[in-house]
């Protein structure tokens, strides 16, 4: 076998391994048949069924609200943590603080979920929408902290000094200079937090209560009773949303990069 053909085969196998399950899921979501594994012709029937399944729709709505709220809280807390870690090289308890910020990253989800559950029980808090949101905020903020921190490390502090030198007090400097410049990192931190919250099953199932079933929990419990094609349908929509998000993000960053390169060429030639 020629090396080139060998390479192509390996590549095809790898892609097949990664994407065939997803393709099968998408294809079967358009299946007319009730049986998940038998192709019965093209149909949008299961999308209609899914739409009218109130339990599934409620779960989707809960998930979206939990995602938006926890991603937002997580982003605010994560950004503050990142600022603390990059701006204050020495303070009492810094090592402990760093450890606690990064702990959820390496902690098994089961343990995070269980300890949250124990906390809520001990505090005598009724479990439901808000407990899931709090739990998700806790574990997503560390991801945001990492994303924002990596941006802050490369941030040129002399920009802030220049603003202060020109008469701008520190808090105003943060909102006028620092925040606009680290905003892309904060936005991607938010997106990451939202995605993590969206597909979390373990922590959510520990911390949820009656009336606050998230989509992953709903899907998981339905699958245990047997896979129905409407699950395929809602998963296809999720995949579609995520793909759309990824493509939009990459196109906008690519465009911004192209514009920057063009601007620099213009600047070098000195044409306005």
């Amino acid at each position: 076998m020629k090396p080139q053909r060998f390479d192509a085969t390996i590549l095809t196998l790898c892609f097949a391994f990664l994407y065939i399950p997803i393709i099968i899921l998408v294809v079967y979501s358009f299946n007319a048949s009730r049986l998940v594994t038998v192709w019965g012709g093209f149909s949008l029937h299961w999308y209609q069924v899914m739409w009218s399944n109130e339990g599934l729709m409620d779960a989707a709505w809960v998930t979206a609200r939990v995602g938006v709220l926890s991603a937002t809280f997580g982003t605010i807390l994560g950004t503050l943590a990142a600022l603390t870690l990059t701006r204050f090289p020495r303070f009492p308890g810094r090592v402990a603080f760093t450890g606690m910020v990064y702990a959820p990253l390496v902690m098994p989800e089961v343990i995070t979920g269980l300890s949250m559950l124990l906390l809520f029980v001990a505090m005598n808090i009724d479990r439901g929408f808000w407990t899931v949101t709090i739990a998700h905020t806790t574990f997503t903020m560390c991801y945001v902290a990492i994303v924002v921190q990596s941006r802050l490390i490369t941030f040129d502090r002399s920009l802030e000094e220049a603003a202060q030198d020109l008469g701008c007090p520190p808090v105003k400097t943060f909102f006028a200079i620092t925040l606009p410049l680290i905003l892309p990192a904060i936005v991607s931190g938010w997106m990451l937090a939202f995605t993590l919250s969206l597909d979390d099953l373990v922590i959510a199932s520990f911390t949820t209560g009656p009336g606050a079933t998230t989509l992953p929990i709903k899907i998981y419990s339905q699958v245990r009773l047997g896979v129905t094609p409407e699950i395929n349908a809602i998963c296809t929509i999720l995949i579609g949303l995520v793909t759309f998000g990824v493509i939009i993000t990459s196109i906008t960053t690519k465009r911004a990069e192209m514009r920057r390169i063009r601007d620099e060429h213009v600047a070098i030639r000195g044409i306005s």
Binding site: S158, A162, A163, Q164, L166, P170, D263, G270
Partner: protein, 388 residues
């Protein structure tokens, strides 16, 4: 492009006037970072409208000193007075100083216009006032047609001008410039040096510049402070620093120089020429040197003899004049610089002396070449004795 040169520079030397009140005063300033002493018990006066340079190698404390004046660092000991007012505890945003950063620190998300307007907005000026000032600043740095550009769309030289305009927009009492021309190429740097002097003179501001480039400091400054390891070695005008350095360090740091280690053989106060100082006699490894200089040294003292290469004459014949200093050697290397040639002459004991000669004729083949036996001569007032 026609360039207006402004008024002729008048003689300016407030530091020689004992009654003059310093505009900026660094009083016994010490700055420590842990065990490292960046600035060590330093005292310095700078006068109004002065163009003052802090010159030294990296790590000598010059940038720290400037950052303390801007308010980014607080001195560990001592105080800074600006117009007689103690600046301790005054944050950077309340100081009447503005700084031009080495990296320019232009706000990348704002246009040139907005960058320049930023400081004025902080002062709460009205919109028409800001617009008028921004326009004036753009005109000053000749960037009128670039107002709507973002910093990324400008060349290095243009960014430097925006940074200058932004730091000048608020009419600070003192403008601090941190290695302002470091990132520019040589030609642009020289042009900009003269423009800076022009702007400083027109606006009548006090400029404090930090640089490691001695040529830059010599060109632009009224006075220079040469720094080393957190202390000031010498504060003087460029000409004084060049012609009368007070130590081996300053002599060596500024320009090209020959330094010979010598022993004093006599300082009897004998005058060889009327109207000149008495002669100090030195010997350096068998080479006798006479220097006209008032100098408190006595026989046996170890001193340095410093002499600029352009003050040494080089010739193929033994000089007839016996009143000058002479040394004999052979040409070891020649550096042709276009306007000047530097001859490296190896003395009989192996030491190298440099002699510079202006290339006044257009001969391509120089009369003196490698391996020639030559005589170096220099008058009694060409060099000086360094005790430090």
């Amino acid at each position: 492009m026609a360039k207006s040169l402004g008024p002729v520079k008048r003689k300016f030397s407030p530091w020689t006037d004992p009654g003059a009140v310093p505009f900026i005063r660094f009083e016994n300033i010490t700055k420590r970072y842990g065990d490292f002493v960046a600035v060590n018990n330093l005292t310095l006066d700078i006068y109004e409208r002065e163009f003052f340079s802090l010159l030294g190698p990296s790590g000598c404390g010059k940038t720290t000193l400037m950052r303390m004046l801007a308010g980014f660092e607080e001195p560990s000991e001592g105080r800074i007075l600006l117009q007689g007012k103690d600046m301790s505890g005054v944050p950077p945003y309340r100081r009447p100083t503005n700084m031009m950063f080495q990296s320019y620190a232009l706000f990348p998300h704002m246009t040139v216009e907005k960058n320049i307007a930023f400081g004025l907005q902080q002062d709460g000026l009205s919109k028409p006032d800001i617009a008028a000032r921004v326009e004036e600043m753009l005109k000053l740095v000749k960037l009128e047609s670039f107002a709507r550009r973002k910093p990324a769309q400008l060349s290095g030289g243009q960014r430097q001008r925006v940074a200058l305009a932004r730091s000048l927009a608020k009419r600070p009492k003192v403008l601090l410039l941190d290695e302002p021309l470091g990132a520019l190429d040589r030609k642009l740097r020289e042009e900009t040096q003269f423009e800076l002097m022009d702007i400083q003179h027109t606006l009548g501001l006090t400029f404090l510049i930090v640089t490691h480039d001695q040529e830059e400091a010599m060109t632009v400054s009224d006075r220079i402070a040469v720094m080393d390891k957190g202390v000031i070695m010498q504060v003087a005008t460029p000409a004084e620093i060049y012609e009368a350095p007070n130590s081996r360090y300053v002599a060596d740091f500024i320009g090209d120089i020959n330094i010979l280690e010598c022993a004093v053989t006599g300082n009897a106060g004998d005058c060889l020429r009327d109207g000149h100082p008495p002669v100090v006699r030195l010997v350096s490894n068998g080479l006798d040197i006479a220097v006209e200089q008032e100098c408190p040294v006595t026989a046996g003292d170890k001193v340095g003899f410093a002499m600029r290469p352009e003050k040494v004459r080089i010739s193929l014949d033994k000089p007839a004049d016996t009143t000058v200093n002479t040394a004999h050697g052979e040409v070891w290397d020649i550096g042709y610089l276009g306007d000047f040639s530097i001859f490296l002459v190896k003395l009989e004991d192996g030491r190298i002396l440099r002699a510079a000669q202006a290339n006044v004729s257009r001969l391509v083949d120089r009369p003196i070449t490698f391996g020639d036996s030559v005589w170096l001569t220099w008058p009694l007032d060409a060099g000086l004795v360094l005790t430090r």
